[in-house]
Symmetry: C2
Amino acid sequence: MSLDFGPAVALSCRECGARYPLGPNFACQECFGPLEAAYDFGEVTRAEIESGPANIWRYRSLLPVPVDVASKPNMNPGWTKLVKAGNLGRALGIKSLYVKDDSGNPTHSFKDRVVAMAVEAARNFGFHTLSCSSTGNLAGAVTAAAARAGLDACVFIPANLEKAKIAMARVFGGRLIGIDGTYDEVNRFCSELIGDPMGDKWGFVNVNLRPYYAEGSKTLAYEIAEQLGWRLPEQIIIPIASGSQLTKIDKGFKELVKLGLVEDTPYKIFGAQAAGCSPVSTAYKAGHDVVQPVKPDTIAKSLAIGNPADGPYVLDIARRTGGGVEDVTDAEIVAAMKLLASTEGIFAETAGGVTVGVLKKLTESGVLDPEAETVVLNTGDGLKTLDVLSGEAVEPTAVIKPSLDAFRATV
Amino acid sequence: MSLDFGPAVALSCRECGARYPLGPNFACQECFGPLEAAYDFGEVTRAEIESGPANIWRYRSLLPVPVDVASKPNMNPGWTKLVKAGNLGRALGIKSLYVKDDSGNPTHSFKDRVVAMAVEAARNFGFHTLSCSSTGNLAGAVTAAAARAGLDACVFIPANLEKAKIAMARVFGGRLIGIDGTYDEVNRFCSELIGDPMGDKWGFVNVNLRPYYAEGSKTLAYEIAEQLGWRLPEQIIIPIASGSQLTKIDKGFKELVKLGLVEDTPYKIFGAQAAGCSPVSTAYKAGHDVVQPVKPDTIAKSLAIGNPADGPYVLDIARRTGGGVEDVTDAEIVAAMKLLASTEGIFAETAGGVTVGVLKKLTESGVLDPEAETVVLNTGDGLKTLDVLSGEAVEPTAVIKPSLDAFRATV
């Protein structure tokens, strides 16, 4: 089997640094630490990137994908809008605020970015089935990408997910298995399945393909920097589920500096969690290095990972960059969703309510510098979490007969 | 008041050709025909367009907007994906097929394009409130754009719309008035309101701002041509609601030819309706020039306009280009939504089921040439019309305990 992962040349252990050949492996044989893609970057220029397509493949020289990746059938996610959020900034007293709005991706969440990497890895390894454990968004991203790429799909979700996320995972075909349990139980089940003959030739995007998959989140860092005019933001607020997205955005920023694509300016990374699933925030506030697992209970189901794999790395990054980790209640999440919608016309899912809620909380408490250029991530779409907007929020202001008198009576 | 509509210099009557100064007017004083924007285009080059932003403002030299439009707060819609639909093409026996997927717009329908024009017109005329009659998608596009632009919003919908569309129109703030009646009754109500003091300084995007608003649909033609490598498709399937989108895409293609931006190659335009609201298709098949209004009864609510204003123009264009008009049943619409999703990973709303359903029907009946390069439009998002996917389509394949034995039992 001849592999082509472009500039990625090996897997390396994030704990002990041991290196392995590229393969469908995810844990270090020495220390059981997580593996990640290691690169041998050639020269990469702004001009080369700028002449690329309006999707993540403009950064193919920085990703574990072959050089001709853009010519294969895939979802071509990314290059989502970095919205100058003047109204929200004024409402919160922040001078220069941007929303990176990843609801513009093909299945309306940032997961399309990571799944696109996993599809290339599955092709490289000759896998016929794409699979995952998912809190919802990922299931839809995997089944859609599999349909486009001509792969089979079999995905696993907690059975109690939002109806819209279930529908979106099912409509693209493939098998959608509801598991009677939490996301963490779904995840453990998938780990067992990988070792079983039933799971042979299966690419579990967030398990055995994770070292490739996770790299997709770096594209958020690349895009933000390029869209700001090739510079790093001073402050960025990122949601925490497994914590992988946050660690990869940090990795992406560092790569851009190392390659000379942006100036080496300081940035602070802030992690955002829901109070009902805040193991990293709790550890951060207590000054711990270890994250104690919790049982999630929050409306922010896409962030409801009680045992976040990258938790310790998130703590490191928040402390190293001078950022932090904060959490907000379900009520604050809904209020923040409405605030973002009514100021900027962006309908975020609950995860976006978490980041905007944390943005508000940290601004009010003086932790965030209102004079510093700030980016807040929205990673998903409000249409998938409609259930949290109850009552009057989803009803007409008034229902009337079609007459001017009837309308006058409502004014 | 100093107006700046860029290259647009007048309004002209589509029936008698009478010209009027630019203003918030929509009907000819001579013959009551509809007014549309008339231009004095300067030289426009491919290079100038290609160096523009990845949204509709790359075509600002062809639209009724000021040259600095991209610097104002607005939704920046457009530059959505033209997906090479190899799987769907193989399934239907079409050699070269593309899906223009407008679900990638900010509020996930093509309406963001037209509303963006209306916002500039409202700013020009000093209007403080943005309004519309809507079958759902437009209401969300208007309230979102008003939020971003800092305008008030008051929008009118039939009270029986899909829950997701109501929620999306409400979450952005402003007033959302449900009217106890059909879309055509909502529309008539808005026409009355314009003449009333209550509607003073209101921009009804699809009534008194319609000559500007409707021009936004031209950007679909521009994008398709540019994304094909600066050429016209040979066949295109477009949904019909009012018919305005179809007539403006034809106008856009003709402008590109006239400006020398593409070669003058023949193209056939096909209109697509739901059988439960098919006044244009009925007239086309009967060989009539006049469209007889109907009372809509279809799941394709975004196309449920029983008295389509541009119906006669659609008939002209279908006949002139050698295209046609066809309709499909609600069952065919749902089947086509599933076909598109499972082959291309695109989750369309019912309107996309209508166009793909018509694509299938016309291919099977031999009306479409399977050897000709074909583009089919998806103008909206499946998450907004979830209700039509009933039963097993929105449920997991199976719900199991988290054990390998339980999974084995499902295989």
